[in-house]
């Protein structure tokens, strides 16, 4: 087992002063974003992506990863204290977390959320470290047909798990692929859908697209709503859970860790799904299910552990296959590409500082997060009191600066604003932006894999079905798609989603 030598390599990269600093900045910003309702981790990561342009690649990815798993920690604070989830993966935490706060038990709720997150996050990283090298070995055997089929499966799972219409999610995936095709064709050099605009020759920029669709659109959607936030005035004490609290939570934390980790690996899965499933399992396996919804500590411990473990698991397909399992990982792929790094099985060999640096920084970041989220809880509560009216102009300012600083071009800013308006309208008409963004990132990769596969097979489509991994992926994708259109199963799926939300 290379566990300890790998751990030393990982920590030696993570403990470099610059990486430690960026790891702290990442987890700090992540917690801040998690705490602030109205800006999710995807929007925030897209806004902050331009900050990484001047950094070394390892530091950049360490910071972006820190924002991602930091947001998972911070999201519980608002769920517990003001009944508003800081990000989607903390939606279920509101159910029992807020009830605990109402009963004067905000301290233990925040405490178990932080400890559960720490334990699950750390176990998740151990799993990530253990599974990544063998996964890389398997991934090296993947050819273009396997990649193509796996990407199809990822897109299908993401659309299947959408909380809105599957048809609309599939449509968005199609639009994402189409947008990804804008620019010069890599193989023939032919300009595609550029409408004669020279700027489009390089394709649509990832930064303006994701900042617009995920960041600006969120601002535009929130600014028209009245956002009320009533922070619990009761003093937050007893952050360290009691022996009884631990007794009730330990099983939920362990189950949440394992479940979250494996759901995180699943393409299209991730932290949101993990937290919902964990809550459902805790409720169904509990001897006293009637306590759920009335302040059961397991209802906080399970989902919060699951979403943090999922955050670690989600790195496996990214670091080993170069395939993003969700939209947040798609942004991280964007960050890697901006630094000239092609994510995939060769990442561990060609850029060990990035590969092991991210893993090592996650161990360190988890400890930082525990310190940030428990002793400093008072600061986050004070930040919660900053009115949205002051926050949104600053968020917009960051968006503009971010879009501008990629190429120092106002056209990029206007593109971002255009995508912001499109994203705002998409939200209105119930079209989710996540499948579009994921398909936009995957589109060019899919096209290359498809073309290579067809050339390999001399024009036969059977290559996708004669290779076992590829056939397996396509079969699962087909089953999911077919079942999603069977009315009785559709009803069941909607019921589950309704129950979960």
């Amino acid at each position: 087992m290379d566990f300890f030598p790998n751990l030393i390599t990982a920590l030696s990269v993570a403990f470099q002063p610059a990486n430690l600093f960026y790891c702290f900045v990442g987890v700090f910003l992540g917690t801040l974003i998690g705490v602030l309702p109205g800006l999710g981790p995807a929007g925030a990561m897209s806004i902050l992506l331009p900050l990484t342009f001047k950094m070394p690649a390892a530091s950049a990815i360490i910071m972006m990863a820190g924002i991602y798993y930091g947001a998972m920690y911070g999201g519980s604070t608002t769920s517990i204290l003001i009944n508003i989830p800081g990000e989607a993966a903390s939606v279920v935490t509101t159910i029992d977390g807020y009830q605990m706060a109402l009963q004067g038990r905000a301290g233990p709720a925040l405490g178990i959320a932080a400890f559960g997150s720490f334990i699950a996050g750390t176990l998740g990283i151990v799993g990530l470290q253990l599974l990544s090298p063998p996964m890389v070995a398997i991934a090296l055997r993947f050819g273009p047909p396997e990649y193509f089929s796996l990407m199809i499966l990822g897109l299908v799972i993401l659309t299947y798990l959408t909380q809105k219409s599957i048809l609309k999610a599939l449509l968005m995936a199609g639009v994402g692929i189409l947008l990804g095709m804008v620019g010069l064709d890599n193989i023939t050099g032919k300009p595609r859908f550029t409408m004669g605009i020279p700027k489009f020759m390089d394709g649509i920029g990832l930064i303006p697209l994701i900042m617009g669709l995920l960041g600006v659109s969120e601002v535009l959607a929130n600014v028209e709503k009245r956002i009320y936030r009533e922070v619990r005035k009761t003093p937050i004490h007893h952050l360290l859970p009691s022996r009884k609290d631990w007794g009730q939570s330990k099983g939920a934390i362990l189950r949440g860790s394992v479940l979250g980790f494996f759901l995180g690996i699943l393409p299209g899965g991730g932290a949101i799904l993990a937290s919902f499933v964990s809550y459902a399992i805790e409720k169904r396996t509990s001897r006293t299910p009637e306590r759920f919804g009335k302040g059961a500590i397991e209802g906080v411990a399970g989902p919060e552990s699951a979403n943090n473990a999922a955050a670690s698991g989600a790195f496996i397909p990214l670091l080993t296959l170069g395939i993003p399992s969700n939209v947040l990982m798609a942004i991280l792929i964007g960050a890697l590409m901006i630094h000239g790094i092609n994510p995939g099985p060769m990442l561990m060999k060609e850029h060990p500082d990035v590969f092991w640096g991210v893993i090592g920084s996650m161990y360190v970041g988890n400890v930082m997060l525990l310190a940030l989220n428990l002793p400093l809880i008072g600061i986050w509560v004070r930040i919660l009191r900053i009115p949205h009216s002051v926050l949104f102009p600053l968020i917009l300012l960051f968006c503009v600066i971010g879009a501008y600083s990629e190429n120092y071009s106002v056209i990029d800013v206007n593109m971002m604003l255009l995508f912001g308006v499109i994203g705002y309208l998409m939200r209105k008409f119930d079209y989710e932006p996540a499948p579009l963004v994921l398909a936009f990132v995957l589109g060019p990769l899919m096209e290359t894999a498809l073309r290579q596969s067809l050339i390999m097979s001399d024009g036969g489509l059977t290559i996708f079905f004669t290779r076992s991994i590829s056939a397996g992926c396509l079969l699962v994708a087909a089953v999911l798609l077919l079942t999603s259109f069977i009315p009785s199963l559709m009803k069941k799926r909607d019921l589950v989603l309704e129950e979960e939300t």
Partner: protein, 152 residues
């Protein structure tokens, strides 16, 4: 008009235009796919799904379907519109007036025009935020910001 009907018509139109564009690019064959091969598959999917959604709006009981105007009912949509216009204005003056002056004007307009915050607070937040961003971007991140007429 029902929201889904309107949106599906839009996507159907976009899909059809994209099919035309893909065919013009050259689809090639399965043996040697052309530049328009995957775009054609994507635009065919878009058109087909949009058509299904459109047909659903006629077949399904429409009572739960939302109308176009109901999407903005009870919401302060003019604020979103104002934010868009102000941000667009910001992009127009960004390079001409320079980062510092244009950002100060942008923040002040949003805080006062959209949110009606007291002048003293508006000035304080605008000056502090502009100054901090300028320092952070110019020195720490070595970002090149437009200098404009003020020279900074």
């Amino acid at each position: 008009m029902y929201a889904d009907r309107l949106s599906s018509l839009f996507w159907l139109l976009l899909g059809l235009i994209a099919i035309y564009g893909s065919v013009k690019l050259g689809i090639g064959g399965v043996r040697e796919p052309g530049s328009g091969f995957l775009p054609l598959l994507a635009s065919l999917s878009i058109s087909l799904i949009a058509l299904i959604i459109l047909l659903q709006t006629f077949v399904k009981a429409a009572k739960s379907d939302r109308t176009f105007s109901s999407l903005w009912q009870g919401l302060r949509w003019k604020r979103s519109l104002s934010v868009c216009i102000i941000t667009l204005g910001y992009t127009l003056i960004f390079e001409k007036l320079g980062f510092a002056l244009s950002t100060f004007i942008f923040l002040m307009t949003l805080l006062k025009g959209v949110e009606s915050i007291a002048w003293a607070k508006v000035l304080l937040i605008s000056v502090l935020s502009t100054g901090l961003c300028y320092l952070l971007l110019s020195f720490s991140l070595e970002s090149t910001l437009p200098k404009g007429i003020l020279g900074f």
